[in-house]
């Protein structure tokens, strides 16, 4: 563990990313303390530039506090990112593990299925799913999970394929262990590092997708999100630049932090690869 941390720390970008990520987590945890009023409530006169009337980042067309919106939006972004990634992992790991372990026709069929999902324009499909099942946090998480599992399935399948012919797996088979037990206790734990690296990048992509959906007006109508804030600022960008600039910066910083942490994790989990790159 100490070793892992030492290697992670060597990647300076990853440490910066981790710091930003901790700040965003803190912001979302303390949103209700920092901004006790609902982010939907009028807090000042409309279109106040940043710094006026106590509005740190200005107010929007209905006098709502942009800073409060960003703080409350942080929760939704992180939540959607985490939950949809977890759901995508569940689908991807299951299908990838079955394909890699079963081989043959099952593998072939599952890989064709995966390929299909990689071919279709995923964002258009996500829009369609959310629109048809009506926008809510549930349908958004579902849509993001449905379009983001294929890379997981491929990575897991490749790992399982390379692990299943190894001696410790063969030994478990000879001992009469059930295939499912072998998968869960012998194979998957050894395939964990690429899955971890991939999931940090998937959370980042999920946050971007969620913001794009909300920007198009497909966000949960009851929740304040970063994408919604930018969408609301789009038509008034000529008079209130702050309405779209600050939420965008929040997305940028969070996603950048996750990407940097992902690279750091990759270095820390694959020490040989990291040294080669350096």
């Amino acid at each position: 563990m100490m070793d892992f941390w030492r290697r992670f720390r060597r990647n300076r970008g990853a440490v910066v990313g981790l710091c930003i990520l901790v700040l965003v987590l803190l912001l979302s945890a303390t949103a209700s303390l920092l901004f006790p009023d609902s982010p939907w409530d009028m807090a000042a006169a409309p279109f106040m530039p940043p710094g006026e009337m106590g509005m740190l980042l200005g107010s929007d067309s209905l006098g709502r506090d942009v800073a409060a919106g960003i703080a409350h939006g942080a929760r939704i972004s992180l939540l959607v990112g985490a939950v949809s990634t977890a759901a995508a992992l569940l689908i991807g790991v299951t299908l990838g593990a079955i394909a890699g372990y079963a081989g043959g026709i099952v593998d072939d069929a599952l890989m064709r299925f995966t390929e299909f999902f990689q071919t279709i324009p995923s964002f258009v499909f996500a829009i369609l799913l959310v629109a048809i099942f009506s926008p809510s946090i549930g349908s958004i998480v579902f849509a993001i999970a449905v379009v983001s599992w294929p890379p997981v399935a491929r990575v897991v399948r490749a790992e399982v394929l390379s692990l299943r012919s190894r001696e410790f797996v063969q030994a478990a088979e000879v001992l009469g262990k059930a295939p499912l037990a072998i998968l869960l206790t012998d194979v998957l734990p050894n395939a964990l590092s690429p899955i971890i690296v991939l999931s940090s990048l998937m959370v980042a992509t999920a946050i971007l997708t969620e913001s794009a959906l909300s920007f198009l007006g497909l966000g949960d109508p009851n929740l304040m999100t970063w994408g919604f804030l930018i969408g609301a600022g789009r038509s008034v960008i000529r008079i209130a630049w702050w309405m779209s600039v600050f939420p965008g910066l929040a997305i940028f910083l969070t996603v950048l932090a996750l990407n940097l942490v992902g690279e750091g994790l990759s270095d820390a989990l694959n020490p040989r690869l990291a040294r080669r790159r350096a």
């Binding site: 279709i120 369609l128 629109a131 779209s244 965008g248 997305i251 996603v255 990407n259």
Partner: protein, 328 residues
């Protein structure tokens, strides 16, 4: 590739593409039935918008009282004859609507793609020749930045800077409103309107292609056949162009194929930001009106575009890489 094998290769790829398109149609069909409420109201658009008589007519037309597989067959036949349904909101067939918007989208995505691949490969090649110098680090930083920035936000920021503050370029539409132009003036006018949207869509992929080209060129430059070429006395410029770059292009082509779907998805966002009159903007308007027939049609058409693009990249790959064999 041996050109005599090309027809077989082409046939295999076409068959594969046909299966994918068929699967997309089935997917659309399932979505119509999975949606909450009456499939007829999904086909018609938001429930309440269509009158009872129209819904009854739809039920009749799609055989909604018949078994599911019969309905699927009816739906399939419709789509394959380019009958993508009827937009009740706009009182026009969906295919007519899409057809009218397609050229604008092709212009936007095509320009963005060519810009991204030409600039990206050039920058990547430059970076590979100067590893570790400032230009090299700059590309890495740019790539990291664009990986993390929402596409629609880049568009808005470009509008803010170039349209609102500097007033250099128009911020919306495809041509100036209320002026009559002729000849070259029309082309210039469209080009002016195209600049910001194409830049927005292209910048992200530029960064991706630059990174990819850099990485593969460094890898290829170390290989034996390059050393052989140098030892034979092939001029350095030709070594880079004919040996290194040609091989380094292979992953770029593969990646361009994989990314085609994302490019189309990005076009929806960019067209929304810039009010570009393409199918992305059509989808956005359909979204606001909950006009599902149009949305399903857009999904189908963009998917076909991606499949067609993948077909082209597959062929291109076969032409560039002599090792690709003509097997499915």
């Amino acid at each position: 590739m041996d050109l005599t094998r090309l027809p077989g290769f082409l046939a295999a790829r076409l068959a594969k593409a046909a299966v994918v398109i068929l699967a997309i149609v089935v997917c659309n069909f399932l979505l119509i039935h999975a949606a909450p409420g009456d499939p007829a109201s999904v086909i018609a658009g938001q429930s309440g918008a269509a009158d009872e008589r129209f819904l009854a007519q739809l039920r009749e037309q799609f055989g909604l009282d018949r078994p599911l597989h019969v309905q699927l067959w009816i739906y399939l036949k419709g789509v394959l004859t380019l009958d993508l349904g009827f937009s009740h909101r706009q009182q026009l067939p969906v295919w007519t609507l899409i057809q009218a918007r397609l050229p604008a989208t092709l212009l936007l995505t095509g320009t963005a793609f060519v810009f991204a691949i030409v600039t990206g490969v050039t920058l990547g090649a430059l970076a590979a020749r100067r590893v570790g110098r400032w230009a090299d680090s700059l590309i890495t930083v740019i790539a990291l930045t664009f990986y993390a920035t929402p596409l629609f936000w880049i568009g808005l920021m470009l509008v803010l800077v170039f349209s609102v503050w500097l007033e250099w370029l128009p911020s919306f539409g495809m041509s100036s409103v209320g002026v009559e132009l002729h000849g070259m003036a029309v082309v210039l006018d469209v080009a002016q309107h195209l600049l910001l949207p194409a830049l927005t869509l292209g910048l992200f992929y530029l960064a991706v292609y630059a990174r990819l080209t850099r990485a593969t060129m460094l890898e290829v430059a170390d290989q034996d056949f390059v050393k052989t070429a140098r030892a034979k006395g092939v001029p350095e410029g030709r070594v880079l162009r004919a040996h290194v770059l040609r091989n380094a292009m292979l992953p770029v082509i593969t990646f361009a194929g994989i990314q085609a779907g994302q490019l189309v998805g990005g076009a929806i966002l960019v067209e929304t930001v810039f009010a570009w009159p393409g199918i992305g903007r059509l989808a956005f308007d359909a979204l606001l009106a909950r006009d599902y027939a149009v949305l399903l049609g857009v999904f189908f058409c963009t998917s076909v575009m991606v499949v067609a693009f993948n077909l082209v990249t597959d062929l291109l790959y076969a032409v560039v890489d002599p090792r690709v064999e003509a097997v499915g």
